[in-house]
Subunit: 216 residues, 2 copies
DNA sequence: TACTGTTTAAAACATACGTTTAGAATGACA
DNA sequence: TGTCATTCTAAACGTATGTTTTAAACAGTA
C-alpha cells in the first residue's frame, strides 16, 4: 500500500539457480523421462528456452543438478573420515568401525532429514539418478568409488580377516541400505502399519549405522 | 524345403503373453515414462493397438506385468517359511534367524540369477516399480507387507528383546540391501575395480543373508 | 548516447507420444 | 455354408515433447 518501497525482487535469485532448485525437486520425485522441460520452466517461472540456454539440453540440466552438490557431499564424507582418524590418533587408538561407517552415512542421512535445507531433495535425486541409464551415470559413480577407496585402508586395518573383495561387497550392501532408506522412508510407516512414526535424523542414522556395523 | 511340414507357428505364443514378456524386459531397464508403447509393440512384433486392446492402457500393461509374477514370488516365500518351520518343529528346535531371512531373500535372488529363466527380469522390474509413483504401487507393497506380517511372529520369538518397531525397521533395511543388490549388481565390479567377478546365485544369496543376519 | 554481450521472450518446428476408430482377418460352431 | 465373437491391422487424432529460431529487453561501458 505504501507503493514506494523498492522491492528489488528479493526472492528471485539467479534464473539458472532457480531452474536447478526446481529440477532437483522434480527429478527427485519422478524419472528423467517423466519430468518435462516445460514443467521445470513453468515451476521455476522462467521461459521455456532457458533450460537449453543455460544447460544446452535436458540431459545437461540433469547432470548439472547432480554436479552441483555431489562434490560437496563427498568432501564432507572425507572431512568426517579425516577428522575422526585424527581424533583417534590423538587418543592413541584405531578408528572404530562405527566411526568409519558413520562418516560414510552421516552426510546423506543428515541432509535427507533437512539438517541442511534443500539438500534432502538432492539425496532423493541422487538415489534415483543411479537408475537412469539415459544420464550416463558411470562417471558419477566413479567419484563415489574414489571416496570409498580412501576408506578402504581403514576397513582393512579394522577387519584384517576380510579380503578386499569382501569389503567391497559389504560397502555395496551398505549403500543399498542407505539408498533404500532414502527412497522409501515414507514406506516404513506402511510396512509397520503406522506404528513407526518418523524419527529424527540422528535416530535414523543410528539405526542405519547399527545395522551396517553388525552386517560388517 | 520340404514345404509340407505343418509348422504351426511354434515360437509365437499368445500375443498377450509376448507383450508381457517384452514389457517386463523393457520396464526392467527403463522407467515407465521412458518406455514407449510403440517400442513394446515393435519388439513384441504386434500391432500398436494391441497394448490398448489387451490391457486398456499403458498403465494397465505395467500393472499386468507386476501382477503376473508377484503372487507367485510371495507364495514361494511363504512356502519356504512354512517348510522351514515344519522342519525345525520336527527337529524340536526353533527356526533360526538365518532360515527366516533366507526364506525372504532366496526367491528374488535365485530368480535374479536365472535359476528360473525369465524371472530375473521381473526382479529388476519390481525394484524399479517401487520408484514409479505413476503406477500407484501402494497396493503392490501391501501384498508384500501381508507376507512380512506372517514372518513377524518368528522374528519375535528369535529376538524377544526387539520391539515390533525395531523389527520393522530391520526388515525395511533388509529389503533395501536386496533391492540395491538387484538393481546394481553389475556395479559391484566397478566399485571393486573389476576384482569382484560375478558369483553364483547361491554365493550372492549367502553374502546377502550373512550381511542381513548380522545386521539383525 | 551508442555499442556490446548477456539474458529473457514468444513463436514455431519437427517429432514422438498414448489412444481411438473403423474395418479386415480369423477361427469356432451352427 | 453362414454367423458371430474374437483377434489383428492400418490409419488417423489430438496432444505433448525437446529443441531451434528470431528478436526484444537489459545491463554495463566508453
Amino acid at each position: 500500500m505504501t507503493g514506494k518501497i523498492p522491492v528489488k525482487q528479493p526472492v528471485k535469485q539467479n534464473a539458472r539457480e532457480r531452474i536447478l532448485d526446481v529440477s532437483e525437486k522434480l527429478f527427485a520425485n519422478g524419472s528423467f523421462a517423466s519430468v518435462s522441460v516445460r514443467s521445470v520452466t513453468a515451476a521455476a517461472g522462467v521461459n521455456l528456452s532457458a533450460v537449453n540456454y543455460y544447460f544446452g539440453s535436458k540431459q545437461g540440466l540433469f547432470q548439472a543438478v547432480y554436479i552441483r552438490r555431489a562434490t560437496l557431499m563427498n568432501h564432507e564424507r572425507l572431512r568426517l573420515l579425516y577428522e575422526t582418524a585424527e581424533k583417534a590418533r590423538a587418543e592413541g587408538r584405531d578408528v572404530s568401525l562405527r566411526e568409519l561407517i558413520g562418516a560414510m552415512l552421516t552426510p546423506p542421512i543428515f541432509w535427507l532429514c533437512e539438517e541442511k535445507p534443500g539438500f534432502s531433495l538432492y539425496i532423493r535425486f541422487l538415489a534415483r539418478a543411479y537408475l537412469e541409464e539415459a544420464s550416463d551415470m558411470d562417471h558419477v559413480l566413479r567419484q563415489e568409488v574414489d571416496v570409498f577407496d580412501k576408506f578402504l585402508p581403514y576397513f582393512r586395518k579394522i577387519k584384517p580377516g576380510l579380503s578386499e573383495k569382501d569389503i567391497y561387497w559389504r560397502i555395496h550392501f551398505m549403500m543399498g541400505v542407505m539408498h533404500h532408506t532414502i527412497n522409501h522412508l515414507h514406506r516404513i510407516s506402511l510396512l509397520s502399519h503406522k506404528s513407526c512414526k518418523s524419527e529424527t535424523a540422528a535416530q535414523t542414522r543410528d539405526r542405519l549405522v547399527d545395522f551396517c556395523c553388525d552386517g560388517f
